[in-house]
């Protein structure tokens, strides 16, 4: 028995790009990308969908794992990108930023692509049945820029300025995509009266479940995670991770989420080394969807590419919980999402 396979429309696809993020909003009329990951996974996915035109690319922030593949999307003649939304960030990775700006300049001058610098709260767009609401960064953060300090003396990192996008489907919140937002970015997001409602049934957890606090300690990470899911109130939390990279998702973050929302559905795109150090058996693919997945070639998958589609009047997450849990039971002897909870969280 296999989970229903492939991409249906409309859908939200969290592509397994390894450590990084790429989300496709796909409708019959158009495809919009929120981040692109790096490498070729998004190109392979678009190719398999026979989509050569990308209506819009929204970049959360200018880290390679979120923006790298945009360079190739713009370079390769197979694709047309009609619109790019991004914030300037010459701070964190100047070489990558220069590479991207040169490529964007080329396509913009050829009048193929419209470029919007300055993405911030209260902007948004519609694509198919989806409305994308930009909740962050605030104008003051976008204006100060990465590398500067806020009035409380806190240094603004690239992650602090992450675009936070909430995807509504048919008028209701569906998914929150907070990029790599950290505690400083979140503090600025919430620093208004009334504080914005972040509710979404599906949350793609920030920074792949890595350090989200400046203190970079377990307690601060757990506090952030607990607070974040309390604000978003999701029923499903997704981690877009690369197996063996950066030790994600961190155990204290998973434990804090499970303690805050008991019974919550947690999926990682790839199998964390913390859940099993043994390679995934080649035959354990019953739950994987027919979609590009970077972990598939190197036997690194957990949920693999995740698709949220509209089925019988409601939105469902695939692979389904039952299929995913069956995979976990067979392959992840120390699974963070189902194993013993830490008593300190």
């Amino acid at each position: 028995m296999t989970d229903p396979a492939g991409v249906t429309e409309p859908s939200v696809t969290i592509l397994d790009v390894g450590h990084g993020l790429c989300v496709l909003l796909t409708s019959e009329a158009e495809v919009t990308l929120i981040d692109t990951g790096a490498g070729s996974t998004v190109l392979d996915q678009l190719r398999s969908l026979s989509r050569t035109t990308v209506r819009r690319v929204l970049i959360s922030h200018a880290d390679r794992d979120h923006v790298g593949a945009l360079l190739t999307l713009l370079s390769d003649d197979s694709f047309e990108v009609q619109e790019i939304w991004l914030n300037s960030d010459a701070f964190k990775e100047s070489a990558l930023w220069a590479a991207l700006i040169y490529e964007i300049d080329d396509v913009e001058r050829a009048a193929d692509t419209q470029v919007q610098f300055g993405v911030r709260e209260r902007q948004g767009f519609s694509t198919g049945p989806f409305d994308v609401e930009i909740l962050a960064p605030r104008l003051r953060l976008a204006g100060l820029g990465a590398g500067s300090r806020d009035t409380d003396g806190r240094r603004l990192e690239t992650n602090s300025l992450s675009v936070v996008a909430r995807v509504h489907a048919h008028g209701s919140p569906l998914a929150l995509l907070p990029g790599d937002i950290d505690e400083v970015g979140l503090a600025h997001l919430l620093d208004q009266t009334p504080a914005p409602d972040l509710y979404a049934p599906i949350l793609v957890f920030p920074h792949h479940g890595g350090h989200v606090s400046r203190a970079s300690n377990a307690s601060a990470n757990a506090d952030f995670a607990s607070r974040f899911v309390s604000l978003v109130r999701p029923t499903t939390v997704i981690f877009s991770i690369g197996r063996g990279q950066h030790g994600t998702p961190r155990k204290e973050i998973i434990d804090a989420i499970r303690n805050t929302v008991p019974g919550i559905n947690i999926l990682c795109t790839q199998l964390s080394m913390l859940c099993s150090s043994a390679p995934v058996g080649a035959g354990n693919v019953a739950h994987l969807l027919q979609a590009a997945s970077r972990g598939r070639h190197v036997r690194a998958w957990c949920a693999g590419t995740i698709i949220i589609d509209h089925h019988e009047g409601s939105w469902r997450v695939r692979p389904s919980r039952a299929f995913h849990q069956a995979f976990i039971a067979a392959n992840a002897s120390t699974a963070l999402c189902t194993g013993q909870l830490s008593t300190t969280s």
Partner: protein
């Protein structure tokens, strides 16, 4: 006999200058249910050898480092690429993949599969053969398909012989620097190399491994 994607593989040529290594390869391949022909050498000229292989061999397994004891006038990567052009699937199996990476990489557009010597077994051989057969038919895996992407010239001619240039790929998953031979660009393009220039080329950026990368269709700017 093997059937892979409707291609029948009965006879596999085994090419290595070392008779003991050749014999060892033959035993391994026989476990994959194919007949083997060990090529004792000398192999003669490249195109002559390819011409002789066309009606005699369904596939080839060869080492890279063949220019020893007059065994061959060409390298294994050169041979595998020429066989690929003649639609004969060839798998490179070598322990020279690191030492001779600069010499092997220019042929990787036509050498889909490189097995490290210690990894050769019947299963890895059949997998490599299948990859090669599919590619000859025009079906590329995600790790082998090329995309036009930006190539940043990180440095040029810092070695004594002024033989190499160095690139990184901003669109790839890693910021590793890759060393390439200027000679493989041709003189006209090599003369245009400048540090920090941003060229384009078609590169298989779906691969995870730097040693699997190959480049073609260079476009300077």
């Amino acid at each position: 006999m093997l059937t892979i994607d409707s291609a029948t593989i009965s006879t596999v040529g085994v090419i290595d200058d070392n008779p003991e290594a050749r014999q060892s390869y033959e035993w391994t391949l026989q476990d994959a249910n194919v007949e083997t022909i060990g090529e004792a050498g000398p192999l003669g000229e490249l195109q002559e050898f390819v011409g002789r292989a066309v009606n005699r061999l369904d596939a080839v397994l060869c080492d890279h480092h063949l220019r020893i004891r007059n065994y061959s006038t060409f390298d294994g990567a050169q041979l595998a690429a020429a066989l690929y052009e003649a639609s004969i699937p060839a798998v490179l199996c070598t322990r020279w993949e690191d030492a001779h990476l600069d010499l092997i990489r220019p042929y990787r557009d036509r050498v889909p599969a490189l097995i490290q010597w210690e990894d050769l077994d019947p299963d890895t051989f059949v997998d490599a053969l299948a990859l090669t057969i599919r590619e000859i038919k025009g079906e590329f895996s995600e790790q082998r398909r090329t995309w036009r992407t930006q190539v940043h010239i990180a440095d040029v001619g810092v070695d004594e012989q002024n033989e190499f240039f160095y690139v990184d790929l901003p669109g790839w998953t890693s910021d590793k620097v890759i060393r390439l031979r200027k000679a493989d660009l041709g003189a006209e393009l090599a003369n245009q190399l400048k540090v920090d220039a941003r060229w384009h080329a078609r590169v298989n950026i779906g691969t995870e491994d730097a040693w699997e990368l190959y480049f073609r269709d260079w476009e300077p700017r």
